[in-house]
């Protein structure tokens, strides 16, 4: 066994009785055992639990075979709460935290017949673009082991790209599903804000966070979104907008579709191979009948500073809960230390450098005297950015641009320079600030082995169009069926 199949293939095989859920589960763990030691995608594996669950599914075929994700092995980013399974957010402060409840997305996956195999490595509390901010381990890009897999959902992207699980869930606050998907040569979907429940997702920036799938194809992403989308009484920001039938929307039609290209935004700082990948992809879609139109996102160049002001402000507030009292790590204190000293020491030892940096920045921009100049100002520019996107999506049905401005960079290259790391998020943060749905689809390589991603951004709650265009593109190109070599 060198790789597991796609989600479509896997669920069809179990449903038709060609494979048992136990066979599929064992196969996934065989690949993980063979490949993960060199890649470092998983922080926790739950073989016994997964096997027991697969056995339950096999024991009651009449109950499970009709379910959408029957027998499907899934990997979960380690910031999604799993009842009884350690959930760390790749942070020392939660190293031994075992949640007493499941995230809503986890409940929904399991109710649909999916089998959780383990938790994946990420940047600590999802803060980063390379997965290098994990407190526990490095995760390598399966296409080039000396390169970053992207982040923050790097472990989830590698689990799928390396054929260890057909599907993984990630979270996306500023590109953390789409960018690792692009860097690992797979599909990553950030749904519209509110489309998928955030209940049980460890909060980073609550107005930006969204959960979504990483998969090999738009078909597989649609299968997963069909299951996880929808209102949830436990998340007041989840939307009651009706959920589409995403799988049925994939009819290959793009004729007459208007694709908006923000040319001015692409003029500077984009790698030549990345631009070539985009142009080639646009040519394929035009060949299929789409029309290209130029759009202007006037304030898009301010999106990165706006994002980092807002996201760090929200993070500094959200991470106040990690104080060594109710759960997680508590630093040992000397005899007469008081509560305030315990808080400060616990957080000093429990958080890594990037998390501390963002808490500091967020605390500063929210503090008296600076709030209006930084936080309020950023929220106002956020409004201008939303208006730009709204206008562009009147002129076009979807927008297209690269997912990341460069191919995956070398491990260690940007660790010492946080600002340089932040600049890589230029094309992804817009969809979070506006709440719009966005998908990254593989669109070729820089050189022979560094994957590139095409990003498509759609109208609110129109994931169906995004997935339809992504699927049509996949039908005309070989990229989504190419896999990294086995090292």
């Amino acid at each position: 066994m060198t790789r597991v199949g796609t989600a479509k293939h896997t669920c069809d095989a179990v449903r038709n009785g060609e494979q048992t859920a136990v066979d599929v589960c064992r196969a996934a763990f065989d690949v993980i055992a063979a490949r993960d030691p060199a890649l470092g995608a998983f922080t926790t594996l739950v073989f016994d639990r997964a096997l027991a669950r697969a056995e339950e599914i096999d024991a009651e075929p009449e109950r499970w075979r009709s379910r959408a994700l029957v027998g499907l092995p899934v990997a979960l980013k380690d910031n999604l709460c799993t009842r009884g399974i350690r959930t760390t957010a790749s942070s020392r402060i939660l190293e031994s935290y075992v949640p007493p409840y499941d995230a809503t997305v986890v409940q929904r996956l399991e109710a649909a017949g999916a089998v959780v195999v383990g938790k994946t490595n990420c940047d600590e509390f999802a803060m980063g673009s390379s997965t290098e901010n994990s407190a526990f381990q490095v995760t390598c890009n399966p296409w080039a082991l000396d390169r970053i897999p992207g982040g923050s959902s790097g472990g989830s992207a590698v689990a799928v790209a390396a054929g260890m699980t057909p599907v993984a869930l990630g979270s996306d606050t500023g590109g953390s599903i789409r960018q690792p998907a692009a860097h690992c040569g797979i599909v990553g979907l950030k749904p519209t804000y509110g489309r998928v429940s955030r209940y049980g997702l460890l909060a980073f920036a609550s107005s930006l966070d969204q959960v979504g799938p990483l998969t090999h194809s738009a078909v597989d992403a649609a299968m997963v979104l069909d299951v996880i989308a929808g209102a949830d009484p436990a998340d007041a920001t989840s939307s009651r907008t009706p959920v589409g039938d995403y799988l049925k929307a994939l009819d290959g039609r793009v004729r007459g579709l208007r694709i908006g290209i923000p040319r001015r935004l692409l003029e500077t700082g984009v790698d030549a191979d990345v631009m070539q990948g985009l142009e080639n992809a646009l040519a394929v879609l035009r060949e299929r009948g789409a029309t290209l139109v130029e759009v202007d996102l006037e304030h898009a160049s301010a999106a990165i500073p706006v994002y980092y002001l807002i996201a760090t402000a929200e993070a500094s507030s959200n991470l106040a809960r990690y104080d060594g009292v109710r759960y997680g790590y508590r630093a040992p204190t000397e005899g007469r230390a008081d509560l305030a000293a315990m808080y400060a020491l616990t957080r000093a030892k429990g958080f890594g450098a990037e998390v501390k940096r963002r808490i500091m920045l967020g605390t500063y921009v929210l503090s008296a005297g600076y709030y209006d100049a930084y936080y309020l100002k950023a929220q106002q520019v956020r409004t201008l950015i939303r208006t730009d996107y709204d206008r562009a999506l009147e002129q076009a049905d979807i927008l297209a641009m690269p997912t990341a401005p460069t191919p995956p960079f070398k491990l260690g290259e940007r660790v010492e320079d946080p600002l340089q790391m932040y600049l890589g998020d230029v094309f992804t943060v817009g969809a979070n600030l506006t709440g719009l749905p966005a998908i990254s689809v593989p669109c070729g390589f820089a050189g022979t082995n560094l994957p590139l991603g095409l990003q498509l951004i759609g109208r609110p709650f129109d994931e169906a169009t995004l997935l339809r265009v992504a699927d049509a593109y996949e039908r005309d190109t070989p990229w989504s069926t190419q896999h990294p070599p086995i090292s």
Partner: protein, 106 residues
């Protein structure tokens, strides 16, 4: 419009004051590092302050009120069991059903 450009230089006492607000103990190296890096990041963020936002309302959330799940019945439902809630605590007083912390007052 802002009539002035904010200083983005941080002294060590600025950094210590922010760290204190954030309940974060920093060592000497971190104070120096963050003084430099916060300055660099906010210097880059100056471009935001140059955008004219007169009369522009802030966006705190993209959710409109009509989207929110709001007509949930107001009735009691099971919640987390007390022992389960205490299970992850670093210093629980399980029998009393409490979390223990170091002294708060002198």
């Amino acid at each position: 419009m802002l009539a002035f450009v904010l200083s983005v230089e941080f002294t060590r006492s600025d950094i210590e004051a922010i760290a204190s607000l954030a309940r974060l103990h920093l060592d000497e190296d971190e104070i120096e590092l963050f003084a430099r890096q916060l300055g660099e990041i906010l210097e880059y963020a100056r471009q935001v302050q140059q955008i004219d936002t007169s009369g522009v309302l802030p966006t705190a959330s993209v959710v409109t009120s009509s989207d929110v799940v709001r007509d949930r019945a107001d009735e009691t439902a099971p919640c987390l069991d007390r022992q389960a809630a205490l299970a992850n605590a670093p210093d629980p007083a399980a029998e009393a059903g409490l979390f223990k912390v170091p002294r708060v007052l002198g």
